[in-house]
Symmetry: D2
Subunit: 373 residues, 4 copies
């Protein structure tokens, strides 16, 4: 099988997708061949230059032409979040498979429309929740599924960065709800929800609070200050459908945190914890063996933790961020080849994102809220 | 000045108090001399044996006799929490200074009665919130006060142990609200509140949830199972009077955690974090100097962090739990000598404990709650 | 410029080279285009299968044909160490640029012959000392060069794994000096020497000792036990040309170590340390600012640490092992394009490897030894 | 049994001894009672003031009077190292038990004289190698003795501080061999040797090198610069009597290290490592159970690790430096009460210290050296 890729966007994520689709087949073997068919960005010469660098056959500044191009089987969308909906719906409408960056959309309603369209069209979709594909996380899920830590009864998660910590940063469109949607919940929080879901299952209800730390920021043109409309931090107390409880916290204004996406799963027989900034490690405690020798053990990922071995047969050699995107791309390619759903598809992502919108509403309305799945 | 100590209780905390009062003067110098006057426990021979071991002049099994003894100026109460109120009120009534272990009482109302009695009598009091006396914590408070991390805008705290993690542990009186009061909030949570207070100031309101993980436990006599009435975990989202927000989480059923009393203070210019299981370290990040060299730094406590130097003139040599109790005991002795209030006295402790009761009520009533100070 | 790649070997390192050459151009831009021309392995069908998976135009089981192929400009050698010399000399003789895995050869004399041949032929070479290309290491070198830690006066390095720790592992050819050359020094130790060189400069002389922990191992055919002829551990005390001193330790029998390639550089004003198993972090201490706030800081690599930014514009997202090979491949491509030497070329590698042979001789002869450069 | 203590010196170690003897009985119970009989320092009023603070019955500025005092059964010597010999010999001559700080003496010959005198007199002695009394270290010894990590085959140890790291520190008598003896080997290195001995057994021979980083330092009176005669760093490669090998490294000029006394014991079935700056933790790896769950585990000391429980019945509450001195003092008191040898007595300490002198000689003479036991 050969599949043509049309990639929209050449920024951080655009480049990550290009690299991932170049490497997925060579890493895993047995995948459909990928033709790098069309790259789209504006202006056209930027698309052309990066198209050559990334190895695409053609480049364009017209994303609708890319979607319509018969050489394109998969449309990969890495544009600003507010553009996802229109592009994805067009791609689905054209019968293309879609790889969309997270979050799906600015609002729950838009995301639901996208998920419904994908289901109706029967195309394969995947959303860029790459962190859940980490072999360390996959191993944690396996340990939990095997009962190694007993019944999972409590969850704690945090996702923090510091890109909005500096009080002197200028106001941008990212501070405006109409253009950017949610704040830290949309940028970071939804990644943490994806972790919570795969580890603990769905969330039944929650209570939450949010905070705008820097209420205004200086306008770039020096004419005054603009209002920050979306949250710098959010905190929620969760009840999972399983009966477990937990907390979920996020901040985009946490000095020193660069990609802190950490969690703990408390079980009745042990505990597992993870820290994204040390993404090749799990911490694991089991109530086994002599008390005097119990302790959290640092498990370094290796070939015992699939699909690490596809990258490297030796433990401790470290996967990186780009490798997670390779696993993600391989997931969509496999799904297309097998005629199965990829994970997480638009519907799965809708489930994740329903939680961040529920947090937002709970905080604004001051009451317990259930995510709409 | 010479002060006579009457100590009630010889368990973990009783021994810790005895050791602390023996060492406080030699460590710090300039304190009143302490006579180890009377030790009380039941049965009498246990009191006698440990009285000799700890160096007390006399021993008794009658705590009222201890309180009434004219050789006793300070009554130290380390008995089960349900006994604190009666003993403290008697000691206050006899005009004695009181050193009481935390929490003050099983209920907020009892704690308030104790605080009011102490204020009315004009005696000096201190409550065993020893962790806030750690030089690392004191240094963090100083950094915050100096503005080193800017305005403190967010707090996260956790206090976890695993002494109730095992599903097979038998039922005890600690599971019964009438006898034990709160669960993890009373045992552990109030320590974390004391940290939050000294770092961030008072808490204005909160929303919370609690969880009983093990709803019943086997009765020791094999006749069935008893109900667990108080919480295994509690989670709260806080609004501080300063406008800061934050979260507070506690569990007594968190496998692998032995004394995890950790926190983060997020400021507008930096961050400080602390972990009790590595109590001689602070993690500190400041948005200073070249970006390429920024990072969390591990500050090891040393003589630059008073009162570490009273114990050891060399950095990195590590204080232990017992040393925190020495600082606490010295705090009360100094307060008595100077005729000032110690910190935290009964009124301060009432403030801390109002928060755990507010968490309990918020969780039970499903609404935002303000601690009553 | 277009360059054709001929890759010999499809194991761990063969795959790593294939992936690296596929990604180097897309990651960095501005590099010569690479044609994946010929892949060689035995048997032929393995070469064919993996040639398709990796994207090579042709496959062969005849490495001499690959070397002779006019479509091949670069010969990449990832075969067992004992084969490097013959293949590299043939490639050099054919005027091809050579990318050779470390160590260059089993003996110092063979390595010297290879380096001299490359110099004489004027071809570009690079050797697979990938760890020194880590942005964290590059940043450490820059800090040292700027004098940030003062004069570097002491070095400590370790490189440990546990692939020979199990006493019950069977005897293999790797235990035989004639076939495998050195033991842990050749597998691991030379990587550490490459680190020491780039951080501290050349080594003038050393004293050393080595140890065979498991003197025999069971023969796979059950007929008895075979002798282990090369070292499980090696330790050396170094004098650098700069006047600094230090130690270098390696073990292939260190349980729990998966890729521990760690070092400390002690300077007169600060210290930098690194641990390969946390390859995206540097630890940095400077005697600057208030004593009470000094501490080792954990620097997470990010776009401030070139060439991290070519992979990802956001800090804390983690590079992996494969990314180091991409930087290495880009180094050779750049060198060829610019007509400059790559680093580390065969001569540089000879310098590194002279040290492991000096350690071996010092240990065997019981005297101070100077590496022959 | 009652024993009178005469303590010479009131500095860091003097205070530590005073506190330790005050607490040993109350902590452990069942020990001889200790009378704090005489404290000696100069000038007399300092001795008097600190005598009152520490709780001694009398104070003096005449150490010979202290030694002769019939109320003194134990002489504790915490004076500068050059004074130990004369004081210890006098105390032994007077039939007193002796608690001497490390190192015993400036030279191996002096230390041997002291050990022989103590043996001849039959008094009990102990030397202040307090770090080996840490429950974490004791547990490591027990694990090794039980074979939990198999046969111990390799050792690595480091002991670093930064009190001589600053190039601008003035010259003091500590830089002069005649007055101070060895440099970092005497201050720090001997502690590490004590660790190596208890973990691995005696050292048969070694090769070593030493380094003076700052060859001169400014004289305090501004008249020029004085020569530094003793080593800033030392490194040795060890052969143990057991056949194991290892390395031992020490620096007093290692920026950022405050009390880094770390070691690794490599066994044929596992590994144990320890870091003094996190003295309540062991790292332990065993080749047991599923490979996918293996990892170094962080064991937090607790009541499962005697004698931790004598201080605190709850794990994770942390012992400190002072607690190690309490265990040490209890060791001497127990030995006297039972009429047995304490550990480490003068003869044991002579064994430890023979190694640092062997390192010094090996470095100066450039040849393999065996410690004289």
């Amino acid at each position: 099988m050969r599949l043509g890729l049309g990639l929209i966007g050449t920024g951080f994520m655009g480049k990550a997708h290009a690299l991932a689709y170049r490497s997925a087949g060579p890493v895993f073997g047995g995948l459909p061949d990928v033709d790098l068919a069309v790259l789209c960005d504006t202006p056209a010469d930027k698309a052309a230059t990066l198209g050559r660098q990334f190895g695409f056959a053609r480049a364009t500044d017209d994303w609708r032409a890319l979607v319509a191009d018969p050489a394109v089987d998969i449309v990969s969308i890495t544009t600003p979040n507010g553009l996802h909906r229109e592009m994805a719906l067009a791609a689905i409408d054209a019968g293309k498979h879609v790889h969309c960056e997270k979050p799906l959309a600015l609002t729950f309603e838009d995301a639901r429309e996208m998920a419904e369209a994908a289901r109706a069209a029967g195309v394969r979709t995947i959303v860029g929740y790459n962190y859940i594909h980490n072999p360390a996380v996959t191993h944690a899920r396996a340990l939990i599924a095997k009962g190694t830590i007993g019944r999972p009864v409590h969850f704690r998660g945090w996702v923090d960065e510091d890109y909005q910590a500096d009080p002197d940063l200028p106001w941008t469109w990212r501070a405006k709800r109409a253009d950017a949607g949610l704040g830290t919940l949309g940028d970071l929080g939804c990644h943490l929800v994806s972790m919570a879901h795969v580890l603990m299952g769905p969330i039944e209800s929650l209570i939450a609070d949010t905070q705008i730390i820097h209420e205004t920021r200086p306008l770039a043109d020096g004419t005054g200050r603009g209002a920050v409309e979306n949250e710098d931090t959010a905190s929620a107390i969760l009840r999972f459908a399983s009966g477990a409880q937990g907390t979920l916290c996020t901040s985009r204004s946490a000095w020193g945190r660069k990609n802190k996406l950490d969690w703990e799963v408390h079980g009745t027989r042990g505990m597992i914890t993870f820290a994204q900034e040390r993404m090749n490690e799990l911490q694991f405690y089991a109530n086994d063996g002599p008390k005097a020798e119990q302790g959290f053990r640092t498990i370094l990922t290796g070939p015992e933790h699939p699909p690490y071995g596809a990258f490297c047969p030796a433990p401790g050699h470290q996967l990186g961020f780009g490798d997670l995107k390779i696993i993600e791309a391989a997931g969509l390619l496999t799904a297309i080849a097998k005629g199965e759903e990829a994970f997480p598809n638009f519907t799965d992502a809708l489930g994740f994102e329903s939680v961040i919108h529920a947090i937002d509403r709970s905080a604004r309305e001051g009451r317990r809220f259930s995510p709409e799945y």
